[in-house]
Structures are given as C-alpha cells and as structure tokens.
C-alpha cells in the first residue's frame, strides 16, 4: 500500500451556470519519502486536488473518490480534519507574502502553531521555533522571530512559511507553486531546501507546478494533468527522455532550447476544454495532432505500456490490445 493513495478523485462545483468538473477522475500513488510533481497549466485542477487532500476545497465544491487514504488514514467524507491538517499534512503556497498573517510576528505565528499542535509553551516553544528557522536556512532566527512578514524578502518569507508548515510535525508537505512568485536564483535555493528537508526528515512532498524546469530539478516522479485528468505519469527522468502522451510531447517541444534561437517556439494549438461541458472522449482530442477514431468517443484509461510509466491515450490502448 502506498503512502498516499488516490483513486478516481473527482471534484465538481455546482454553479449557477451548471456543474463544473474541476477534477474528473485522478489516480495517484505516492511512496513515502518521494517528491512527486504534479504538472499542468492553469485551471487543470492541480491546486484543487491538493486542497482536497486537506479538506479545504471551498464550497460549493464536492469531493468524491473511490479511495483517498494517507498513511492508511481515510480522508474521504471526513468532518473533523484536526488530526490531518498540520499534524499529518502541511501546505505552502505560491505567494508567501500573502500566506503569512501580516499582523503577527513570525515568532508569534510559529509559537502559536507549536503550542496548538505540540502543547509546548514559552521558552520550549521558542526554542523549537528557532530550530525550525535554522532548519529552513534562516540562521538569523533572533531577528526573524521578532520580524513581521513584510519586513522579510520573498525568499525569506517562503522559508519562514516552510518553517511554519513544518512546525506542527507533519510528514507530508504539499507545495503549491512554491517558487512561482520568486526570482530564479531564489527559486533554485527553495527547491534545494525542499530536497534537503526530504532527505533530512523523510518528508513526502507533493510539488505542484506548471514549470517543467522545476520538475526536472526536483522531482522523483511526475504526473501530468490535463483538464482535470491525469494523462501521463512517470519518473522525471523517463518523462523527459521518452514522453508518451501527445500533450506531454507538445509541452516538452514547447520548451525553449539553446539551439532553437531564431525559430518560433512550438505551441499546442487550441484551447483547454471548459469543465462546464462533459467531454465524451479524450479531453485532449480537439488539440491532438495524432487524433484518430476512438479519441472522440471513448475516454482513454491510464495504462502502463512500459512498467512504471502510465499514459492515458488511445495510441497505447490500441497497442495494448494488439499485443
């Protein structure tokens, strides 16, 4: 049994205009201690998937799944999330400046979380807060503990946010676009920090990003999301070496390369289908350069033509059937 098991996760929002399917059946399995990258463009359901793992999908969102467990604990239909949020799962966000409460010092915020989850108070709690700050690469903890968020730089804010997320002792960290708001040098530092924390504390990390560069630098395995479905999953090395799904191939082809200077960047034509209309076939069919017969009528399921490399595409369904 995997550390995190997600089977047929569906998230829908009932709106005035109709039912919006944000996530339409995702299967994921994360092993303890790995960094799993969830990649996709804006609106493909990355963030809402991660919120579902913490019971934080905003109303009127409805979450259903065949199975949703973390370390053997059922996360489905849970009303009381106290055992999960903070204790087992922690989360950091895209914009650290907006994710830290502007009216409390970092010391106050850290000590409050430590006091709530670990029952530590006063000097003990402050000592733990200081240790956490050192852990995330802020050795100047005396100053940071007294500082308000707006007095820190973006990189320091994200480090502080990571310290705050880990303060409660969670082993599973969801990092939602943790480096998008930071400049490139800081981005590399934060990614290195996340890897270091994984190595040191055995964290399992779900890294959500739209940036394939981040995936390449950090992740062990990757899942590619498209319009609320998982189209491909593989180790990071495999994904870059031999992408299987036409969407992934298109994404990788669209990356600028040193040799491509002076030529137009490749792009994937068309638009992501709206979640408002249910697509009968493959959600990528309308944009796929290799579209054929069954693509428009039947939804492809995730198969593993090569062991450990899953792909949801009829090109491979046909192969599987033939072999």
């Amino acid at each position: 049994m995997s550390y995190l098991e997600v089977q047929d996760l569906r998230i829908a929002f009932q709106t005035h205009a109709g039912r919006f399917g944000a996530v339409n059946g995702i299967d994921l399995a994360l092993e303890r201690g790995e960094i799993f990258g969830l990649v996709g463009e804006s609106g493909c359901g990355k963030t809402v998937t991660s919120l579902a793992l913490m019971g934080l999908v905003p109303p009127p969102g409805e979450v259903t799944a065949a199975r949703l467990t973390l370390d053997g604990i059922d996360l489905l239909g849970r009303r009381d999330w106290r055992d999960v949020r903070g204790r087992r799962v922690a989360m950091i966000f895209q914009d650290p400046a907006a994710s830290l409460n502007p009216t409390f010092t970092l010391g106050e915020q850290l000590v409050h979380v430590i006091g709530h989850h670990l029952g530590q108070k006063g000097a003990t709690a402050r000592a733990r807060a200081a240790a956490l700050l050192v852990d995330v690469g802020l050795p100047d903890f005396e100053r940071i503990l007294r500082a308000y968020p707006h007095q820190l730089s973006g990189g320091m804010q994200q480090r502080a946010m990571i310290a705050l997320a880990l303060a409660s002792g969670a082993n599973f960290l969801i990092a939602d676009e943790p480096t998008t708001a930071l400049d490139v040098t800081i981005q590399a530092q934060i990614l290195r920090l996340l890897k270091g924390l994984r190595d040191k504390h055995g964290l399992t990390i779900l890294l959500i990003t739209h940036d394939l560069g981040v995936v390449a630098q950090t992740c062990d395995r990757v899942g590619v999301l498209y319009a609320g479905t998982l189209v491909e999953t593989a180790t990071a090395v495999e994904l870059f070496r031999a992408p299987q799904h036409p969407y992934t191939q298109g994404l990788l082809a669209a990356l600028p390369r040193p040799g491509s200077r002076g030529t137009d960047l490749a792009a994937i034509e068309g638009q992501v289908p709206s979640g408002m209309t249910a697509v009968a076939g493959c959600p990528f069919a309308a944009r796929c350069p290799q579209v054929f017969g069954p693509c428009r009528s039947a939804r492809p399921i995730l198969l593993e033509p090569v062991a450990g490399h899953g792909v949801a595409c009829h090109l491979y369904t046909a192969q599987e059937a033939a072999s």
């Binding site: 903070g86 409460n101 502007p102 009216t103 979380v113 709530h116 308000y148 707006h150 997320a165």
Partner: protein, 338 residues
C-alpha cells in the same frame, strides 16, 4: 511614536482654537440678546444695559474673544446666563453621568457588535448573517425615542424587570447613597463596596445604555462583517486553516486582528457623537446628563454653556481619534504613523 503623539496633540490645540473661535463667533452673530437673558425676567432697559456692561458685551468682538479665551485657559468656564451657576461645577455633575452612560453603551457595542459581526462574516449568507442583517438595519433605522418607549413598556411596564428611569431608585438613594468620588455611579459604588447601590445603578443603566447602543452596535456589526468577509478571502486564512489551527483561533485571532480597524473607527466616532447625541435618551430616561444640559442651554441661548460644552466635546473627539489611530498602529505593524 512620542513625536507623533506630540504632533497630534499640537494639531489638536489648533483644532480647539478654531472650534472655539467659530463657536464664539456664531454665538455672537445669532439674533438673540444674552444680556436680556442674564438680567432675568421682564428686565428694564437699565437692567439690560447694566448686564451688558457686566458681561463685557459692549466691548469689541476681539476683546470679548480674548477675555473669553483667557478665562477658559485659566480654567474658568464662566457662569451660565440662565442659572448663574458656575459652568465648571455643572459639567462636573452632568459630564460623568453622560460619560458613564456612553461608556457602557460603547462597551455593549464592542461586546455584541464585534463578535456578532465576526460570526456573521464567517457564515456569510447563513441564517445568522441574515438575522443580524435584518436586526442591524432595524438598529440603525429605529428612532431612539421610540425604542426607548417600547423598552420601558416591555421591561418596566409588562415584565417589571428593570426600573423606568433616572440613575438610581429613591429607596437606594436614601438607604444606600452612592458617595461621589469620580461621578461614575458604578465605579464609586464599587470603590466604596456599596454593592446594593451598585446593583441598583447597574439595573438603571441597562435600558438607556442599550437604547443608546443600538446604533453603534448595528454599525459595528456591519463594519466587522464586511471586513471579515474580505479578510476571510485572504490566503493567510487558508494557510492558517491548513496549519490545522482551530476555527475559533482562525476567526477571532488571525482574521479579527486584520478586520477590526474599521469597527474601531466607527466606535470612536460614535463615542464622541453620543456625548451630546444622547439627548433624547437622557430626556426619556430622566438621565441627568450632558445632552439634556446642552439642549436646555441652546433653547435659552445660554452661550457660555454652549461654547464650553462644544469645547469639551471637541477635546473628546480629538483624544478618541488619536487613541483609535494609536490602537490601529498597534494592531497592524504596516501602519506607519507620521
């Protein structure tokens, strides 16, 4: 910080000076004759002339103003034209009565309006939000005099739960008189351990304070709700929930600290406004306060009283606004005082 306070106080001096000049000027240009008032009933022309000379009303305006300011700066507020009482001693009896009433009503607004606003904002569109919406619209629209009468009818007339009016009952005033120390009955009774008197005074203040508080309660509630709705949409609230903090902490600690400032501003203004705006409430509940005192003086064109009360209220306005600004800076470190 200290520099900021000093600068604000200096500015307050300027405001006070302008207000005094303006009130003084208005009191001199309105068509009424203070000397005739001062001289008593059916005065002769000589009596009026004498009064005019005694009050200095025959002097040029500038001289009059200089004298008037000189007296005030030396602590002499003058005497009432009508009653010939020293205004300072009048204020010493009426101001504490009103201040006590207003403070209790502002406390009610804080204790009811802010928590109710937090809860309404937290469950936006829920039954509590809808109910408080209706109640607070009623609270700002219902005339105080009508509400006061209804409250008297219900709590005194029908249920005999609370006294009808005034600050104390006659029995308590005779058997357990409250010794005047600060002029605040609740404080004085507590200081002297006169608990029977304290309960009596507390029962008397409930209805007038609540009547006076309906407007600030409603306003505070709506302000807090609106600010909470905005703050609860912020990412740091999602982050706080993701950290597993209990909803109580998220609402009343993490969110409220960011959402309370508009409500405090409203409360500050309500406080200063209530000092003289409490007139109707004071009349209906026979509350011997500033509102009634100043209204009587306006009806009698008793200018020294009007000017004195105006200045006192101005001082309160300035101090309360300064206090609100300082609290705001204390709550939100991003506010820089300059």
């Amino acid at each position: 910080m200290t520099l900021y306070i000093l600068r604000r106080l200096a500015l307050a001096g300027l405001v006070l000076f302008s207000v005094s000049a303006l009130t003084f000027l208005i009191s001199r240009v309105v068509p009424s004759d203070p000397a005739a008032l001062f001289a008593g009933q059916r005065p002769t022309a000589e009596q009026i002339a004498l009064a005019r000379e005694r009050l200095g009303l025959d002097q040029p305006l500038v001289v009059q103003y200089a004298r008037f300011m000189g007296d005030i700066l030396s602590g002499d507020l003058g005497i009432s034209y009508k009653t010939k009482h020293a205004i300072a001693s009048d204020l010493a009896t009426f101001l504490p009565a009103t201040l006590e009433l207003v403070l209790v009503s502002i406390a009610l607004a804080l204790l009811i309006g802010i928590p109710a606003g937090v809860l309404a904002g937290a469950q936006r569109g829920g039954w509590f939000d809808q109910a408080t919406r209706v109640l607070s619209i009623a609270g700002v629209s219902i005339p105080a005099f009508w509400l006061a009468l209804i409250l008297q009818l219900v709590f005194f007339g029908a249920w005999h739960l609370l006294p009808l009016s005034s600050r104390t009952s006659n029995e308590a005033a005779i058997m357990y008189p409250i010794q005047a120390i600060t002029g605040f009955h609740l404080v004085d009774a507590a200081l002297t351990g006169n608990w029977t008197g304290w309960v009596d005074a507390a029962l008397h203040i409930v209805l007038p304070a609540f009547t006076l508080a309906t407007y600030p309660i409603s306003l505070t509630l709506r302000m807090t709700r609106a600010a909470m709705v905005e703050v609860l949409g912020e990412k740091y609230i999602v982050a706080a929930r993701a950290q597993g903090l209990p909803e109580r902490d998220v609402l009343f600690r993490y969110a409220l600290k960011n959402a309370i400032v508009p409500a405090l501003n409203v409360l500050g203004l309500s406080f200063a406004f209530s000092l003289t705006g409490s007139f109707l409430v004071e009349v209906i509940f026979s509350w011997p306060g500033l509102g009634k005192y100043v209204t009587d003086s306006i009806l009698n064109a008793d200018f020294p009283v009007i000017v004195s009360v105006t200045l006192i209220v101005t001082v309160f306005y300035v101090l309360i606004n300064l206090a609100v600004d300082l609290i705001q800076a204390r709550l939100d470190p991003r506010v820089v005082l300059r």
